[in-house]
């Protein structure tokens, strides 16, 4: 059984009464431990697909089975718990909480899960040291560079050891060298921790370096 089974997922937007079909019947299996890249033209619906996959956005129709559970049938609270325990997000912008230090930001998912404060902070410290930011623990997001902030965001996504990591153009705002660093880190995480990963990217070169490559086109997912 695949880790993620997506069947017939439809998603449309309405703009001035006109329907725009973004996903029209996406079906896809993702195996445990896979590192998948997803490319597509701007506006093809890559982000929407990722949001639906991460249960941040509700589809019109379709089903999503994660490890055998039908995720869409969970209540709002159940979805929140599902996101907290099984999914890690990395976005194009780092989306760190500005009032909190890097350490607190990384610990946040654990705090949401009511992990003891000291234990959560210890775990966060270990992760930040692993991504090479041991010296930046008490800095606020405003005091970090773009690459550093994105590393903190990656550490935050990993703090609860999620089964699935969803990355939405994690290097989109970074220069090529820094971006390559982040990609290197993602591959390491996939290799060392065995975390399944879907990475949306514009960068065809980077995409081609991934073991499995997908392309979103006309509302369907195709093999690239």
């Amino acid at each position: 059984m695949a880790l993620v089974e997506i069947r017939d997922v439809f998603k449309s937007y309405w703009l001035h009464g006109k329907r725009i079909d973004v996903l029209s019947g996406v079906s896809l299996d993702i195996e445990r431990g896979e590192l998948v890249s997803l490319v597509g033209a701007s506006g093809a619906g890559k982000s929407t697909f990722l949001h639906v996959l991460g249960t941040l956005d509700a589809p019109v129709a379709g089903s999503l089975h994660f490890d055998g559970t039908s995720v869409f049938e969970l209540s709002d609270a159940g979805l929140a718990r599902f996101r907290n325990r099984t999914i890690g997000f990395v976005f194009q912008s780092h989306f760190l909480l500005p009032e909190f230090t890097a350490l607190e930001n990384v610990a946040m998912p654990a705090l949401v899960q009511r992990v003891d404060r000291a234990a959560a902070l210890a775990q966060a410290r270990a992760l930040l040291e692993r991504v090479g930011l041991g010296a930046r623990l008490d800095h606020r997001p405003g005091e970090l560079s773009g690459g550093e902030a994105q590393r903190v965001a990656l550490a935050r996504a990993l703090v609860l050891q999620p089964a699935l990591l969803l990355a939405d153009e994690p290097t989109g705002n970074l220069d090529p060298a820094t971006g390559e660093g982040i990609h290197q880190l993602l591959r390491e995480v996939n290799r060392d921790l065995g975390i399944t990963m879907v990475v949306v990217t514009h960068n065809e070169v980077l995409a081609r370096s991934m073991p499995r490559q997908l392309r979103l086109q006309a509302g369907k997912v195709l093999r690239a």
Binding site: S47, G62, E73, D76, A80, E99, M108, L111
Partner: protein
């Protein structure tokens, strides 16, 4: 699929619907007009329209309107009820038809003739498929909350306060206990219902409150208007109506209590939703408080200290000081930056940047302002209520210092109680009684050489009166209450002008430098009475009793007797100081022609227990022909007026707190708008909706707590100031020297609790809006 045909089809559907709606509105207005006409014809027009005018500020007007209609209907002779039934029927039909048409005009789902989309046979998104609008179980829980709360209140109050079949507690404390129980029931059942439904379930709550909650207060309000119904069911509610009447306007008490229960239900629903919204009962708030505290940061010493200064010293002086300090700060900093820049421009730029970053955001300003607003409201509540309590306590001391707590009287034709000594013995031993004294009551005219005044004269036993009233303590220096029974000792300072000795009984005489003066029985006069009679201690006054001289040829003959002023007393109550005179019991017996005494006065250890002791005394005396009255009964109008006034003042001042709550709504809404992105991120990290609600509720609550704390401190400081330093008042006008203050802990705590509660409720709406922020919305790439 073509968009042009789609819009065309839509407008074709729209047009007849608008025609229907217009017709419905027309019918509704005609119906309403006919009903109004019917009301006018019934003769209730004026009452109704004035009540409708009152409707604007609140629902109380609706009750008034109903009462007006009822009164109009009852004024007509009961045989032919002059209600214009035809008009009422026509109006009602129009009204109902109008609503029916409106309901009909609501568009139903239209099956459009479109080609099926590609998604046609896929399963619908499950939450959408499982959507439910009404849950009977939740409705039942809310019904238990509001109706159960009311029933618990009524039954428990009756049980606790009823003397015959219950515990016979004092009515107010029984009410507080049963209200607490009822509020708990409403809160718990509301919380259970919302936690079970995992949503707020507003339709269920509305129906429960309107259809199950209002009948009881409506019934209680209308009861006095139906004498027969009042006879039938009224006595079952006697403990309830008694408590309600303590504040003078029972219907206000009913509706306030009802409102309290509804608020408890609303709080319960909210708490149930927040605590149980994550599927399991989740009461921990550690993470939410952690986030909320970073967002608002109200518990900064600088903010709190500044707020306190503003509340204590007024707005202008602290702001002036602040402005001066800021200006000085800025001047020093600019000089420093310029000096730095001369060495290294980069250092200056960095310093300038740091300086600019210190500027506050708009939200931080709003937060500080709302803390101040809540603080002002709480402070005003505490000061005004404390001063009013001070007045009440002052009045109570003065009234209870002059009057007994309980009076025993007897039903006889001349009101006399010859066996008063036995009565004294019987009531002396009762639990809670600490003083007993007999008295005689009469009305006379008192004349001096300068003036005449009508007074109430009381015959007292100088030996025991001190155990019941403060009279001995109130006698001003120069007089002595014991001289009532020892007239020889009364000093005569100035001789009367030579006059004919009219009183043949005056055998004993005082020898004064100016001549001789007869020895006369003593009398105590109030300060104002003595002033208006222009007499001092030792002067002579004549009392004239209109009845007491027996029958003469032309009817009752007045009896007059001369007294010598043995002392002047000052109670602090103008009414008493200008209208009371005291003589000894023996003198009163002979002068007013009363055998024994008029009655017996008691003093009790706990004045709030007087009602019970009054009943116990009556039981000890085997009831009729004796009767007893407690001080509350004797001064009921005065004290219920005071209580009503205090309640109204509390309500009016709570409006200040509500205005502050408006500030909180604005502040938390701004916070929510400012934090949209963060809310999205938190949701992506797995914070459930209830967690987001908790965060913003905690922010409102922190503002309320900080404001309440500021208000409490500054209010207490002001009360202390008024008490210790005092605000002088002109005793010629107010009859008191300074503003009395009495800080009642319960009432002060209540003011703070109300403020915190209102802040909490004020943040409910923005917090719920925050929970509705779609995660995707804030996560769009910048």
């Amino acid at each position: 699929m073509n968009s042009d045909t789609a819009t065309l089809a839509l407008s074709e559907v729209e047009r007849p619907r608008w025609a229907l709606r217009a017709a419905a509105v027309l019918l509704l207005s005609v119906g309403a007009g006919l009903l109004l006409l019917a009301v006018r014809q019934a003769g209730a027009g004026d009452g109704l329209f004035s009540a409708l005018a009152l409707l604007a500020p609140g629902w109380g007007g609706l009750v008034q309107a109903g009462l007006g209609l009822l009164r109009a209907a009852h004024r007509a002779p009961p045989v032919a009820l002059a209600l214009p039934w035809r008009w009422i029927l026509a109006g009602a039909v129009g009204w109902c038809l109008g609503w029916a048409l409106l309901a009909f005009s609501i568009p139903k789902a239209q099956a459009k003739d479109e080609a099926p989309s590609a998604a046609a046979d896929s399963p619908l998104y499950p939450p959408l498929a499982a959507w439910r609008d009404f849950s009977p179980a939740t409705f039942a829980a809310y019904a238990v909350a509001i109706l159960g709360g009311e029933v618990v209140l009524v039954l428990l109050q009756t049980f606790l306060a009823s003397g015959a079949r219950g515990l016979g507690m004092a009515a107010p404390s029984a009410f507080v206990l049963s209200l607490l129980a009822a509020v708990l029931v409403a809160f718990a059942a509301g919380a259970f219902g919302a936690a079970r439904a995992r949503r707020l379930a507003a339709p269920e709550a509305t129906i429960a409150v309107l259809y199950l909650g209002t009948p009881l207060p409506v019934l209680l309000t209308l009861l006095p208007n139906f004498p027969r119904a009042a006879l039938w069911v009224g006595y079952r509610f006697r403990e309830i109506t008694y408590v309600a009447e303590l504040i003078g306007r029972p219907e206000i008490a009913y509706w306030l209590t009802f409102t309290l229960l509804v608020v408890a239900l609303a709080l319960g629903i909210l708490s149930g939703f927040v605590a149980g919204g994550s599927g399991t009962l989740d009461l921990s708030t550690g993470f939410e408080l952690f986030v909320a505290a970073r967002h608002v940061q109200v518990f900064r010493p600088r903010l709190l200290f500044g707020g306190l200064l503003v509340l204590l010293l007024g707005v202008v002086p602290p702001l002036l000081v602040l402005a001066v300090l800021r200006a000085a700060d800025a001047a020093v900093e600019r000089t420093r930056i310029r000096a730095l820049g001369l060495k290294d421009p980069m250092l200056a730029a960095a310093a300038q940047r740091a300086w600019a970053e210190k500027a506050q955001t708009a939200t931080a300003m709003m937060t500080a302002l709302s803390v101040g607003g809540v603080g002002v409201g709480v402070m005003a509540l505490i000061i005004v209520l404390s001063v009013m309590s001070g007045f009440e306590a002052d009045l109570q001391t003065k009234i209870l210092g002059t009057n007994a707590h309980v009076v025993v009287l007897k039903y006889t034709d001349n009101g006399a109680m010859p066996e008063y000594a036995e009565v004294v013995k019987k009531v002396e031993g009762l639990r809670g009684v600490i003083g007993v004294t007999p008295f005689i009551f009469g009305q006379v005219m008192i004349a001096s050489e300068g003036n005449v005044d009508g007074t109430i004269i009381k015959g007292i036993d100088p030996a025991s009166v001190g155990s019941v009233t403060d009279l001995p303590k109130n006698v001003l220096p120069g007089g002595n209450i014991d001289w009532l029974t020892q007239p020889n000792s009364i000093p005569v300072h100035r001789p009367a002008r030579p006059r004919a000795a009219t009183d043949a009984d005056d055998e004993v005489v005082h020898h004064t430098p100016g001549g001789t003066e007869p020895v006369l029985p003593g009398i105590l006069l109030g300060r104002e009475l003595a002033a208006s009679l222009r007499v001092l201690v030792g002067d002579r006054v004549t009392a004239v009793s209109p009845l007491g001289g027996g029958m003469g040829p032309t009817g009752p003959v007045p009896r007059s007797r001369a007294f010598r002023v043995a002392g002047i007393f000052y109670t602090g109550m103008y009414e008493y100081d200008s209208k009371f005179a005291y003589i000894s019991l023996g003198e009163a017996q002979s002068f007013l022609d009363v055998k024994g005494a008029t009655g017996v006065e008691l003093k009790v250890a706990d004045v709030d227990d007087a009602r019970r002791i009054s009943g116990a005394a009556l039981q000890a005396l085997d009831g009729y022909p004796y009767r007893t009255k407690d001080w509350g009964e004797m001064n009921r109008n005065l004290f219920s007026a005071l209580r009503l006034e205090k309640l109204m003042m509390g309500i009016i001042l709570t409006i200040i707190v509500i205005v502050a709550a408006g500030l909180i709504v604005a502040t938390v809404t701004m916070l929510v708008l400012e934090k949209r992105k963060e809310i999205s991120v938190l949701k992506a990290l797995g914070v459930p909706d209830s967690g987001v609600v908790k965060i913003f509720l905690a922010e409102g609550l922190q503002i309320g707590l900080a404001g309440g704390l500021l208000g409490l401190l500054s209010g207490l400081a002001w009360c202390l100031f008024i008490e210790k330093v005092g605000l002088r008042m002109d005793p010629q006008v107010y009859y008191i020297h300074s503003l009395p203050v009495k800080v009642e802990p319960l009432q002060t705590a209540l003011a703070v609790v109300i403020a915190v509660l209102v802040s909490y409720l004020a943040s409910v709406f923005p917090a719920l809006r925050a929970a509705q922020v779609e995660p995707v919305e804030g996560l769009k790439a910048e």
